[in-house]
Amino acid sequence: MYRRLVGANMRGQMQYRVAFLLDLVGTGIGTAAAFGTLALILQRFENIAGWTLAEIALLYGLVETAFGLMDMIFSGFDPGTFGQQVRRGTFDQMLLRPLGLTLQVFGSDFALRRLARIFQGAAVLGYALIAAGIRWTLLKVLFIPVVLASLVCFFGALFIVGATITFWTVESIEVVNIFTYGGVEMMSYPMEVYHPWLRRFFTFIIPGIFVNYYPALYLLDRPDPLHMPAFAPLLAPVVGGGMLLAALAFWNFGIRYYQSTGT
């Protein structure tokens, strides 16, 4: 059923080929601006907190690729557009259909234009995997898809929580952007550059540090300047999966208490 909903959605998007292409190029330029700037700047500065361009590319590539994937799969939950659905009452239509609600929201949007972000992220990630001097082991090869999946779950959880909150606020709350887009920006750089308070927030409250930074330390065999227990990199799937489950529980709780706006 999910495949049919998404299939219909994708066919719809492919009807606007020019729009699709322009979106690809536009997103591409945005991403290129961020990483291109970094690459050009590092010609002068050489490194950030001892991390070379290729090493930062690992952080950046992982988080960009995963966020792009998440944004495509979870775009039905995008707090901005989901808020509109609640306001306009299109969400109420879903309540009337004889089909699981979560499935319908998942199937309501599958943003193909995120492909640009995924390509761009994957290109940077590919560069990092080749140029960062990783000493490859079988375990590391297997670990990369696990990290990506954990990141997708992590950001997906944030989207779902953001969408659920709109049941109460009705207005789409843009503050969620601080954690999603802000999280992407923050996790693109090594954590030791940030003030301890910011770091603690992203360790204990929104534990993003475990899904990108620690896996990267492990892949690069870098010592941990923050002195976490040695098993910290292995927490990635636990944190990602755990957050997604918690978010879905919150979502179900939200649905039970949802009252329509009446529009």
Binding site: A33, L40, R44, V175, N177, G182
Partner: protein, 278 residues
């Protein structure tokens, strides 16, 4: 008094009055989006904190890079976050939306140039954003970091001039992008590319003087440095004497070029609209 001259005067007065009313309108509109503005403010500030952290890590033990101290560089991140809303750097789709919804038909009937109609409203919007999203971010930053502030009267004057010019360049560019809506249903996609380019080439992400020379030369072929980089360098007091005058003159030229282009393209667009019957 010559009656002809009298009526010309009166017309001018009325135009000015209308212009002033439109500025007020644009200003007031911003205060109906209080929640959105607050969220935007927090987001701008949070991203600013991240950017400042990266800047501090980049400098490491360096005391001076391309004439900028670490304090200047941190101030750069503050100031560039503070002008996002003022220059509407991330998006502005007002004219595009008016074209797509058909509202433009009634707006064109108004007894004022369509370009001026939006320019006035944008000035009002910018003043509101300058106060609510610009000054506040600078003040919030000052709580966390030591930031650079212009020292001399001359610097403040130059800043005032360049603030206005930057807004005009940015408006000309945004208006021009919106006009593509007359010809294509995909103006938003084109706009996204245009805005993306402007972050990259304007010196918004990093001061242009940090980049390699070939890249800076490339940027200066576009109007983008006249939107952001000049403004930042004037604020930080990095330009003096002839360099300062040259930068301001460049801004003036871009304003003239973009405004003229806007009028030309707008006329062509409106003609197309009229032929099609709206």
């Amino acid at each position: 008094m010559n009656p002809l001259k009298y009526s010309a005067n009166r017309l001018q007065n009325q135009d000015l009055k209308l212009f002033w009313h439109l500025i007020q309108l644009g200003f007031q509109q911003q205060f109906s989006y209080r929640a959105a503005n607050l969220a935007g403010l927090m987001t701008n500030f949070f991203f600013g904190l991240l950017r400042a952290s990266v800047m501090i890590a980049l400098y490491a033990a360096r005391t001076d890079v391309a004439g900028m101290s670490l304090q200047d560089a941190v101030t750069f991140t503050a100031f560039s976050q503070a002008i996002i809303a003022y220059l509407s750097l991330f998006n502005w789709w007002r004219v595009m939306l008016a074209v797509y919804s058909g509202e433009i038909a009634s707006e064109l009937l108004k007894p004022t140039n369509y370009f001026t109609f939006w320019l006035a409203q944008d000035i009002g919007r910018a003043i509101a954003h300058f106060l609510t999203r610009g000054l506040t971010i600078m003040a919030a930053y000052a709580l966390f970091f030591k930031i650079t502030v212009p020292q001399t009267v001359g610097q403040w004057l130059a800043l005032a001039v360049t603030l206005v010019l930057s807004l005009l360049v940015s408006f000309g560019w945004r208006f021009l992008i919106n006009l593509t809506a007359f010809w294509t249903p995909d103006a938003r996609g084109i706009g996204r590319i245009a805005f993306g380019l402007s972050w990259f080439l304007s010196g918004f992400m990093m001061p242009l003087r940090f980049f390699p020379d070939w890249f800076v030369r490339l940027c200066h072929l576009t109007p983008f440095p006249a939107m952001v980089n000049t403004l930042l360098e004037v604020y930080l007091g990095l330009l003096e004497g002839r360099a300062l005058l040259g930068a301001l003159a460049q801004q003036v030229l871009w304003v003239i070029a973009l405004f003229a282009l806007c009028q030309l393209v707008m006329r062509a667009g409106v003609r197309k609209l009229v032929i099609q019957g709206g």
